[in-house]
């Protein structure tokens, strides 16, 4: 049984109203979920053996932000991506801190660089940049007068 099939079996046990779509990609499973059910999916996955949150990151897709979570299981020897999307104007989503405390610094980093607010995070401060930094640098529309553009001839 491949990793994808193992994860598909786990997801099929979970409640159908969570709206999970599982796709295979390079023998890896990607769980596409609506943003509202993130916390519920997190709890379900944790209860089914996904005991570790490896990574949280985000991608700027212009109209919306895509959030990417990597969940790992030591009992199943498997890992999966969980992806969800939030609108750019209302960049806010539930924090997974209460499910996996490892989300603490990871979510602070996403807040710092993308400006996505995590509701329910106990300590949502900047982590990499100075506290008084204006804006969120990894957004595509970020502008900073201090940045020198690379000339074309280099």
């Amino acid at each position: 049984m491949s990793i994808y099939e193992a994860i598909r079996a786990v997801v099929e046990e979970m409640a159908p109203d969570l709206g999970i779509t599982v796709t295979e990609s390079w023998d890896d499973a990607i769980l596409d979920i609506p943003a509202e059910s993130l916390l519920a999916v997190g709890r379900e996955l944790k209860a089914r053996g996904f005991d570790r949150l490896g990574m949280v990151t985000a991608v700027d897709r212009d109209e919306e932000f895509e959030l990417v979570y990597r969940v790992q299981s030591r009992t199943l020897s498997a890992a999966a991506f969980v992806k969800t999307r939030v609108a750019r104007e209302r960049a806010s989503i539930d924090s997974l801190y209460e499910v996996w405390p490892a989300a603490d610094w990871q979510e602070r980093e996403v807040w710092d660089l993308f400006g996505i607010a995590f509701v329910g995070h106990p300590d949502l401060r900047r982590i990499l940049l100075p506290e008084d930094w204006p804006g969120h640098p990894l957004r595509r529309d970020y502008e900073d007068a201090n940045v020198i553009k690379r000339p074309d001839y280099i």
Binding site: L128, L129, P130, P137, D144, K149
Partner: protein, 186 residues
């Protein structure tokens, strides 16, 4: 330090240039032979700095060896990219060093920002934007040999300094050589 500063001004004012030069030679010799370094390793250049300190290149034989406490050191070696967030910490550590003190910028990032000069929001473009740098060592990262050359250049710089405020000798001051021993009994 304050007493020595006044001594330099007094000797200079009384026309004691010859005496001052001799005192300078002694002071510069003693300062230049033991430049204890504060290794401000903020990125990958620190690896080459560590390599330079250990037995293959062995900086101890130049009198330069790393101390982790800024209050014990004469020269701060800035090894690695300085980010906007790290800048206040670097400045604080530099301010904690007692006078006289020197600054070595090691690697392209501390010289000018290096590869982070363009399209970067978080990197300070050169340590000389906020610290008085004495020696620049180019390289990404510099080999320990370059590092050693930088320390030797710093020693030359130190040995032209004068106790008189705002004065510098044109060339390295040398202590008078000890008289050759007479034949001896054979």
């Amino acid at each position: 330090m304050a007493i020595v500063d006044r001594l330099g001004a007094a000797l200079e004012g009384a026309g004691g240039g010859v005496i001052l030069t001799s005192v300078d030679a002694l002071v510069d010799w003693s300062r230049g032979q033991s430049l204890w370094a504060f290794p401000m390793g903020t990125a990958c250049c620190a690896m080459e700095l560590i390599a330079a300190s250990f037995n293959k290149f062995d900086f101890d034989r130049l009198g330069t060896f790393p101390r982790p406490d800024p209050r014990h050191t004469d020269v701060i070696i800035l090894a690695g990219t300085i980010t906007e967030k790290m800048k206040p910490a670097v400045k604080l550590l530099y301010d904690q060093m007692p006078d006289p003190k020197w600054v070595v910028a090691m690697g392209n990032c501390t010289v000018s920002g290096g590869i982070f000069y363009y399209d970067t929001y978080s990197v300070v473009r050169g340590a000389d934007t906020f610290l008085p740098v004495d020696v620049y060592i180019a390289g990404c990262p510099p080999r320990p040999e370059s590092m050693m050359d930088g320390v030797l250049q710093l020693r030359e710089l130190v040995k032209t300094e004068s106790l008189a405020p705002g004065k510098r000798h044109a060339r390295e001051l040398l202590l008078p050589e000890a008289p050759a021993e007479s034949g001896g009994e054979s």
